[in-house]
């Protein structure tokens, strides 16, 4: 019942909403980032982080630190938060929380399959996987030779199985196919998530549809930009766009025929919410587009916290944390490689 969530939401969701808002209060602030950007060594970063929620995770690390250790430990914190919330959650929140991890699952599948294709060691690949997207038989992915086998052997057991129906072919796996598979899976996943949120109704549906629409549009733009100059046909490209979002359906038709970045820009500027993204960019510039998108995304996720009694806060929190970890990784890399002048290039302040 829309508008009446306040009556019943707290029965099951109140505790977890409080938890997630508490976690959100632990996100690094601008002053934290300012301090982090002034760090001289990775030890300084560790020291500064020891005063934050990452403290307990980093305190037992021996001194010559590496960026990977920092990122790994910070991710561990995110995973612990997530697992705690998942343990406490009841239906439908638990399903909602599980949906959040499917994106990582798709990435992991693609990572393993690509890795095996290039004959990398499976253990090494497993270490690179995002811990949120792990499932039992993930290592078995290495056995599969083509998509059909991939599906039949491993993925049929995972929640990703339904998304696979669209991309089962007997073709051998190659880079191009894998990338198409990733995007097809992602499309199916986003659409499924979108439907699920619509089914939940209320403020969750409203806010999540906004957030997911943005995600879908961003993917559409990225697919377009990345496929410019490849052998991907326009029809194939069109098939990879998710069937919702602001661009759907007319924007998709226009994006499908784009041949360079300025055409993409022309398409996007027709949509008022995306005008601001391009306002800061000069023509022909695509490197900064990612950051602009991230900034817009962070803004939207922060706004999700303004409303109460809905599930989008969980989604927003997870995404904000991930962005924060990306920031930390960038800062640590810059510090480790003595490139401090470039620190601000890719850090997206959350508050």
């Amino acid at each position: 019942m829309y508008g009446f969530e306040a009556l019943t939401f707290n029965i099951h969701g109140g505790y977890l909403e409080a938890i997630v808002r508490g976690h959100r209060a632990g996100l690094l602030t601008t002053s934290d980032y300012n301090n982090l950007c002034q760090c001289e060594t990775l030890d300084d970063i560790k020291m500064h982080l020891s005063a934050t929620e990452y403290g307990p995770y980093l305190q037992n690390e021996p001194s010559p630190l590496h960026t990977t250790t920092i990122v790994e430990k910070c991710t561990l914190k995110l995973v612990d938060d997530y697992k705690h919330m998942l343990c406490q959650a009841t239906e439908p929140l638990s399903t909602f929380l599980e949906y959040i991890t499917y994106g990582h699952m798709i990435d992991n599948v693609v990572l393993i399959v690509t890795g095996t294709l290039h004959e990398r060691d499976v253990q090494e690949l497993l270490e690179k996987c995002h811990p949120l997207g792990m499932f039992d038989s993930i290592a078995t992915l290495a056995v599969a030779q083509n998509m059909r086998e991939l599906y039949r052997l491993v993925l049929v057991d995972t929640p990703l199985a339904p998304y696979f129906s669209e991309c089962i072919t007997s073709e051998d796996l190659d880079d191009m196919n894998i990338e198409i598979m990733r995007n097809t899976l992602y499309k199916a996943y986003l659409e499924d998530f979108y439907r699920f949120c619509q089914k939940l109704g209320g403020a969750t549906a409203e806010i999540m549809s906004d957030l997911l629409a943005f995600e879908a549009d961003r993917r559409a733009v990225n697919i377009t930009i990345n496929s410019i100059g490849t052998e991907l046909t326009r029809d194939d490209r069109r098939k990879l766009y998710s069937n919702f979002g602001l661009f759907y359906p007319y924007g998709h038709e226009e994006l499908a025929v784009c041949e360079d970045i300025d055409q993409v820009r022309a398409v996007m500027e027709k949509y008022p919410p995306y005008q601001s993204i391009f306002a800061k960019l000069s023509y022909g510039e695509s490197q900064m587009l990612d950051k602009a998108f991230y900034e817009e995304e962070v803004k939207r996720h922060c706004l999700a916290f303004e409303q109460q009694f809905h599930y989008a806060v969980f989604f927003a929190y997870m995404r904000l944390r991930e962005q924060e970890i990306r920031n930390l990784m960038w800062i640590s890399e810059c510090v480790a490689q003595n490139q401090k002048s470039r620190v601000h290039d890719s850090v997206v302040f959350i508050f």
Binding site: N35, Q38, C39, E40, D43, D44, M47, H48, S50, A51, Q59, N60, E61, P62, S63, V122, D136, S137, A139, T140, L141, A142, V143, R152, L153, V154, D157
Partner: protein, 820 residues
Amino acid sequence: MDHFTDKFPPMDLMRSEKMTFVQLIIPAESAHRAITYLGQLGLLQFRDLNAEKSPFQRTFVNQVKRCAEMSRKLRFLMDQTNKAGIKSSCSVLKSDIYLEDIETQLAEHEHEIIEMNSNSEKLQQAYNELLEFKIVLQKACSFLVSNHGHAVAEERELEENVYSNGDFVETPFLFEQETLPGPSKSNQSGLRFISGIICKSKVLSFERILFRATRGNMLFNQAPADEQIMDPISTEMVEKTVFVVFFSGEQARTKILKICEAFGANCYPVPEDITKQRQITREVSSRLTDLEATLDAGIRHRNKALSSVGGHLAKWMDMVRREKAVYDTLNMLNFDVTKKCLVGEGWCPLIAKTQIQEVLQRATFDSNSQVGVIFHSMDALESPPTYFRTNSFTNPYQEIVDAYGVARYQEVNPAVYTTIIFPFLFAVMFGDWGHGICLLLGALVLIAHESKLSNQRLGSFMEMLFGGRYVILLMSLFSMYCGLIYNEFFSVPFHIFGASAYKCRDISCRDAHTTGLVKYREPYPFGVDPSWRGSRSELPFLNSLKMKMSILFGVVHMNLGIMLSYFNARFFGSSLDIRYQFVPQMIFLNSLFGYLSLLIVLKWCTGSQADLYHIMIYMFLSPFDNLGENELFWGQRPLQVLLLLLAVIAVPWMLFPKPFILKKLHNERFQGRTYGMLNTSEADLEVEPDSARQHREEFNFSEVFVHQMIHSIEFVLGSVSNTASYLRLWALSLAHSELSTVFYEKVLLLAWGYDNLIIRLVGLVVFAFATAFILLMMETLSAFLHALRLHWVEFQNKFYHGDGYKFRPFSFATLTEDEN
């Protein structure tokens, strides 16, 4: 009055310690030592002068980092000792080891332990593999019996190859050798197998995947392993399952091997020939015993190393923690311009100044410094912190008060009165000397084990209980006292102080409930007459007693609160508050409720039948009417009119004059200074920048007036509602006694009525549990909370501001609590 109060002996707890703001200028060479000594003394609260700097920009960041690194190593060693299960025997240590020594020693030990761990890990892995192989051999045989006779020649040869090179330990996966079959010797049966071992939790999905991968063309056999195998990473014992997969075809084979790898299943070759099997089993067993011996030796060696460190760990941990605290404090200090001195600021109690000076001198002397530490008082802007010197008896009461709000600097501390009034009010609600004895025993146990328990880490609940042991002690003593007055022992009255003054009208005593008792001798000397229990007059009498008593206590308690506001006002020299707040408040409360108390006492003394409700109500409704039979004393009517008049006057008295006078004072102070401000020279501003800032505060009359209005209304309404609030003493006391009566009569006596041992026993158990959990725990808690409320709200809102902040000195003694 002033003369009289000045003669009181000084009360330490009444007002917080006089604090002074001090500045320290410490030469760099003796800084560390000085801070260490100050930490041992623990009487100086440093102010962070580098608040705007981030932690890694401060001066002593490297030392702090080193300490953090050392405590990490210490945690690692501690962890290892705990894992190995070594009890650290506290060895006697030389006290003067330096941090640098510890650092090098720690590094050595850590390195040693890590190396030993990695060695034993390797050994453990080899051991695990052998053990697994042995289990596989044992289990797989049974599956292979059916296949016996299809012995595959190639594998037999192969096995010989494998085991002849002998470096069993070094081969991580034994099946690797197996995967080199000669192409010429394709197997005769067409059926081949792979045997191995896998975690029990993964078996199901493993089998499923195998089935899918081979499209069902395989046979999967499994048997649980008898022994658990240690997981080298988590060092936990894992249950494993042995499997044998039969299949045919080379492709299936590679697939299965890949799946095995993906699932972390270890494959071991099993020969089909029984003699061969026996031989290998023998070999494996002998190797296993060898390895076991090596492993044991390794572990013993490691444990020895660990136990040699173990004794020092706690001490080192303490030292490192102190060092870190010292450097953290040093980071709060500023370097002066010449970079040769550190400048620190902070608060200390006035009486501790000499002690601090002594300590600083000692530090200068010990570090052979040429220049002493400069230590002098300064003026401070902010108000000083509040510091009470408490002992283990007064501390819990101070905590009770602090939980509401820390006292403003030098304001009257209600904890002084709380020490007695709080347990007493509790006891009024919890009056039962049987229950009191139980509480007393609990408190005595806690106090008897004081020295033992205070060193232990207790759970949060026990810690609370232990901290409040003296509160519980006083509460129990008072509740025994009140219980004697109420004459209740687990709700049973006793004839302790002689015989009862009442007797029944006839021998059968049937009409005690309906018509009551007859008095035949002198009244019962102390407390409630035991004969009243269950009689007609019991409830009316007890209600009237407890209700009136509650009001008396309430009025006295609130009067005390208002009196304390007088002491506050006098101490801070605010005659305005005395004249326009204390006096009218006193008059208002006492002209209404003080008068009520007077009537109660009079009625008790004279035994009059007057109706006090009637008197109080008609005092307001028709003050000039004749009181009739309700007149208690001569001149009551004019007195009532006078009191009513006083109360009516008191309300505007406390409302209007204060804000207007404040406004007048403010205007006078700045009269003619509007021009003067420009003339004041810069020097003048520099001398007194603080005081000037304070004076120039905006005076907002409406705000002050509204504030005063709220206060007055709150007081006038509050005096009615607060008096009513004290009736909770009566209500809780009644509830407690009724509840315990119910448990006594309806459980214990009822069960005792049966002539059956089991029923009696059950009744006794139920009674005991009800007494322990409901009466002793829940009722104690509720009476405690109500007493707390009476203190926080009814008592403290008469005088207590509670907007100060606590004095937190830099002290080593408090360090251990922060960590962990």
